[in-house]
């Protein structure tokens, strides 16, 4: 039987160490909503989302009460809208109507974000894909809860550099459209390489076409729990360090698995995957950077950071994999700057640069995340940063992403405030040398040699 020490340990994790389930994300296929008439398409989308997700929030809250475990977000991901909308949408404006429908549906069922205003263009863009991409700035400015992502490359296809060039311009335009709010629109826009079909985390979640009609994916969290556990093994060997991370990750993931199975059972929707990511929040004691410091670094960004992060990410996976029947999504340590107080401190102390962050993304998921840069950078520089990050993903056969926020009207050293889970961020320095001639080349980067495995 369960004893009092075990009960206390679990409750201490929840009450004092910020253990929570970060998100229950309900993936909904909209393939059966496809229609050549725009009004009918919008009606069907609204109808499907509000019926499938009608009880999502209520069920999530019931599970929270039953186990006294916070489930921070209840969210929805849908089939990439570029696929769903192509036969009805003849312009970027047409696509914006779909974004408004998604926003309306999200508000009706009470979820805080809906992901899937997306296009998958890793090898090339159709006219419809391009309309959707060009509609993103307006769509994100006019809606509140819609999240957008664009997959511009993969290990199998190489990188669509035309899409990379376009996304540099789109990110800047999105920043411009939402400049009254510190360019917040860009916080809802991710550029991917090797985007997974079952990612539950925003802003990059979408319901891939390989998925079932509807599915429950759960993202766990708990950097604070790992940090506390590591405080007990200060100065010990790497073996002890790694074992401690593994055991802690196992416990955290088991809670996620329970919540996922319960949500699946109560909603009558199949369980998809658990995403084993350490996802920080701006709250003190809920930071991945603090884990790195506990491992032995003065600040995140100091020499040794990449190795420490590699170790952390690998042990979290090793511990988590046995705790869940299906693991998927992004599954790695997130290192968003604005959403992690330890990362913010490291940037402000001058310990962490954009280049070091790029190096860190080689060994963890997911990428350059929630990084504020000066709003006056040229579009080609934004595209250059995207291209570098996509290349890391393509060559290493992993997911990489870019969520940059060029803050209009702000410069290096100033701070932007996004509020809530998105936190605040110091505007970071970007390499001032250009790459315009590189970005202006047409076409795509070919798939790497190690993708030819057949």
């Amino acid at each position: 039987m369960i004893n009092i020490w075990e009960v206390n340990e679990t409750n201490k994790m929840i009450e004092q160490e910020n253990l929570d389930v970060r998100t229950i994300t309900l993936g909904i296929s909209l393939l059966d909503c496809i229609d050549s008439d725009l009004q009918r398409l919008n009606d069907k989308i609204y109808q499907k989302i509000t019926s499938v997700a009608a009880k999502l929030v209520e069920t999530g809250e019931e599970i929270e009460r039953n186990y006294c475990i916070p489930i921070v977000n209840k969210r929805i991901s849908v089939t990439p809208i570029a696929l769903v909308g192509q036969s009805a949408c003849r312009s970027a404006e047409d696509f914006v109507t779909v974004a408004r429908t998604l926003d309306r549906a999200a508000k009706a069922v009470g979820v805080n974000f809906i992901g899937g205003y997306s296009a998958l263009v890793s090898k090339g863009m159709t006219a419809g894909d391009e309309y959707l991409i060009r509609s993103i700035p307006q769509a994100l400015a006019e809606t509140e809860r819609v999240c957008s992502s664009v997959n511009v490359g993969s290990t199998k296809t190489g990188i669509d550099m035309d899409a990379v060039k376009l996304m540099g311009e789109i990110i800047l335009k999105t920043a411009e459209y939402t400049k009254e709010n510190d360019s917040l629109g860009c916080a809802k826009l991710v550029v991917f390489c090797n985007a997974p079909d079952d990612n539950p985390f925003m802003a990059g979640a979408f319901h891939g076409v390989t998925e079932a009609d509807s599915i429950i994916n759960v993202g766990v969290s708990g950097p604070g729990v790992v940090k506390k556990a590591l405080e007990q093994v200060r100065g010990e060997s790497f073996e002890v360090l790694c074992e401690t991370i593994k055991k802690t990750a196992f416990k955290i993931t088991r809670v996620g698995q329970l919540v996922a199975q319960e949500a699946s059972r109560r909603l009558g929707i199949p369980f998809g995957i658990i995403d084993l990511s350490l996802a920080p929040t701006p709250a003190v004691g809920d930071s991945v950077a603090e884990i790195l410091e506990e491992i032995g670094l003065e600040y995140a960004g100091a020499p040794g950071t990449t190795a420490a992060l590699a170790l952390l990410n690998d042990q979290v996976k090793k511990g988590g994999i046995m705790a869940s029947s299906y693991v998927g999504g992004l599954s790695g340590a997130f290192i968003p700057v604005s959403e992690d107080q330890g990362m913010i401190d490291a940037v402000e102390a001058g310990a962490l640069s954009l280049e070091k962050l790029e190096a860190m993304t080689c060994v963890c998921s997911v990428g350059l995340d929630m990084i504020a840069i000066p709003g006056e950078v040229p579009a080609s520089t934004v595209s250059g940063i995207i291209a570098d990050e996509m290349a890391i993903g393509m060559i290493n056969q992993k997911t990489t992403a870019v969520r940059l926020i060029p803050v209009i009207g702000k410069n290096i050293g100033e701070t932007v405030e996004f509020g809530g889970l998105l936190g605040h961020a110091p505007v970071m320095q970007v390499n001032r040398y250009g790459c315009e001639a590189f970005i202006n080349r047409k076409g795509r980067i070919p798939a790497p040699v190690h993708s030819f495995k057949n």
Binding site: M1, I2, I4, V7, T10, N66, Y67, C68, R254
Partner: protein, 94 residues
């Protein structure tokens, strides 16, 4: 209520005072909730009790009991929390 989900862990944490266990047990017996196990300890001068209770025959739904016990806790000056047992089983048993 589902038959396989009747075991609930009730934790009581707070400043020690006369009659905490009695008041909680009275509530449980009034609502036909059977106590399977009790353990108690003092952690950092705080009263700390854990009960494993079987709510199979409870005349009130889980949410209502949890709320009632929370209110009862406030009256006594302690924190009372009800959680389904699975969260602990999952975390601490393979």
């Amino acid at each position: 209520m589902e038959k396989n989900m009747d075991r609930t862990i009730i934790t009581v944490v707070g400043k020690d005072t006369v009659g905490i266990i009695a008041k909680v047990c009275t509530y449980l017996s009034e609502h036909h909730i059977n106590v399977l196990d009790i353990s108690q300890t003092i952690v950092q001068e705080f009263f700390n009790m854990m009960m494993i209770a079987d709510m199979k025959n409870s005349d009130k739904p889980f949410d209502q009991c949890a709320k009632d016990l929370e209110v009862l806790g406030e009256e006594i000056g302690v924190n009372i929390k009800c959680q389904r047992e699975e969260i602990f089983q999952r975390m601490h048993r393979i």
